[in-house]
Amino acid sequence: MTDKASRAHSAPDAGFTDSTIPARAGAGLKPEHVDAILQDDYRIGFLEVHAENYMGDGGATHRTLTAIRQSFPLSVHGVGLSIGSENGIDNEHIARLKGVVDRYQPGLVSEHLAWSTHDTSYFNDLFPVPYDQPTLDRVVAHIDQVQNALGRKILLENPSTYVQFEKSTMGETDFIAEIARRSGCGLLLDINNVFVSATNQKYRPLTYLSEFPLEKVEEIHLAGHAHDVDDEGEPLLIDAHDRPVDDEVWKLYDIVIGQIGPVPTLIEWDNNVPDWPVLRHEAKLADEILERRAANYMLGSHHAANG
């Protein structure tokens, strides 16, 4: 039967809205929010889904995402490619990702600087990689493989980390900048990850941001984090995605948007998911910053144009 289905899936007449993602706030799509989102007078800028949740053959999940895609631009965020893997990445999984991308025509496609599969086991979490030359070469090759298969650029997201590899020979920002330069990928800047990693690894988030190739950032992620302590009782932040965005992260976000101008900004809330209005409130906070900074930006360019 798959003949009929695949024709339907690739049909460009599925009634989808424009795929371009606006420089506004978006939200991670949760099935329990779909009806509220579709009925809400507030129109969220875009929605983002984890690609793997839509890799089934058919059923209600696809019906739901089709309905969303008819009204909103979509960002597809992969969590399972394991780009940092040292045993190559799975061509079958790349093909599945291509299936989701072809079917839903997302405005952005992103993945993580991380690994999640080893041998045949998928661990459903994102683990760090050593920042050294062999890993750099491998990650660049993997991104090329993905971009060539998809026929488009992907964005790579900076990780949240709790540990380091002793063998690392370069800093995270240099590592990411070099990946982007060599592979031509764009970057997804997760500012909560910056704050979490900076706290955990004892550097200043603003130093990290000043070294990060911000000109390649095409999307921003914001999320909440939890507090723990390490072996010595020092603060250890956990990238929990289970609460509102922290005030410190909002401040960093405001600074970044002031510097690079408005970019699509996603609120991620994956655990203890609240009712839609709570998530919408976070999205509106991001919208406010984006609008304020956009006004300044236009003012700035106006002055520049006149003087």
Partner: protein, 273 residues
């Protein structure tokens, strides 16, 4: 598109052992923090590494709770999580499609001594695994009953069928179908005798997964049809299994449930045999 980079390393990893200890230690709490994994300024990272261990275990246990909600409720949250932690150590997802995880969970339950008295539990888990497979199965129209009605009576026994991708038959020596259905409906198990054997048919006509209990012999009948047998052959196997087999009732049930997507012989005709 960027130039294809030098990809020799994807065939021949330069340093194939560096992530191995990290991976091995994730699900083995007895292993020490992997060598070379540190905190800032080289300080020790035992609690830090445990964040990853905890994420993996909690994440996979949570996935199992989502995939097997009836088993979860039947044994209670605390017990389920403790039990699932043990299963997670023995079997991890084999792909990033988390909704396919847990194929081995029913077999694990069968050997897990603390639930030995809940004899029906592995079969309830099998139903839940099949239910989720049906939920994600391809969107395929079910067979129009009129297709079968259009077959000349003398040709009926020779008909073969194409199984719908969302169709699963689950046979149990216990009342697993009734227990599953009651639990998913939020009811208790009063009035159910767990020792009565039941067969279940799982189907999905459009988007809602359905389960129905099958009359005697119907499971053997449907399994034979799904295996490619003709209607006549399948009826024969059903009668062998159960003298009470009612062919007309079984056909009515399979048509109503949408167990098949088309007549196999009809396909051949269309191709112009």
């Amino acid at each position: 598109m960027p130039q294809m980079a030098d990809d020799r390393r994807s065939d021949q990893p330069a340093d194939a052992t560096s992530l191995e200890p990290f991976s091995d230690a994730l699900l083995d709490p007895d292993l020490p923090t992997p060598k070379g994994i540190v905190g800032p300024k080289g300080k020790k990272a035992a609690k830090r590494f445990n964040v990853y261990r905890n994420n993996v275990t909690v994440g996979l246990v949570g996935a199992l709770a989502d995939i097997f909600p009836a088993v979860h409720r039947l044994v209670g949250d605390e017990f389920f999580r403790a039990m699932a932690r043990i299963y997670v150590q023995t079997e991890q997802p084999s792909s990033p499609l988390l909704f396919r995880y847990g194929a081995g969970f029913p077999a694990f339950l069968k050997t897990f001594e603390p639930v030995a008295k809940l004899t029906y539990l592995p079969d309830v888990a099998r139903i839940e695994r099949a239910w989720l497979d049906a939920y994600h199965a391809a969107d395929t129209p079910v067979m129009d009953p009129a297709d079968l009605g259009a077959i000349a009576p003398e040709d009926l026994a020779d008909q073969r069928f194409i199984t719908h991708p969302a169709t699963f038959v689950v046979r149990s020596n216990f009342a697993a179908v009734s227990i599953f259905a009651a639990n998913r409906a939020g009811k208790d198990l009063s009035g159910i005798d767990p020792l009565i054997a039941e067969d279940g048919l799982i189907t999905r006509r459009e988007f809602d997964v359905e389960i129905r209990q099958l009359p005697a012999g119907a499971a053997a009948f449907l399994q034979a049809l799904a295996g490619g047998a003709t209607l006549g052959e399948a009826a024969g196997s059903a009668v062998e299994q159960s003298e009470d087999f009612d062919l007309a009732a079984a056909i009515a049930a399979m048509l109503e449930a949408g167990a098949f997507s088309a007549l196999a012989s009809g396909k051949i005709d269309e191709k112009g045999q």
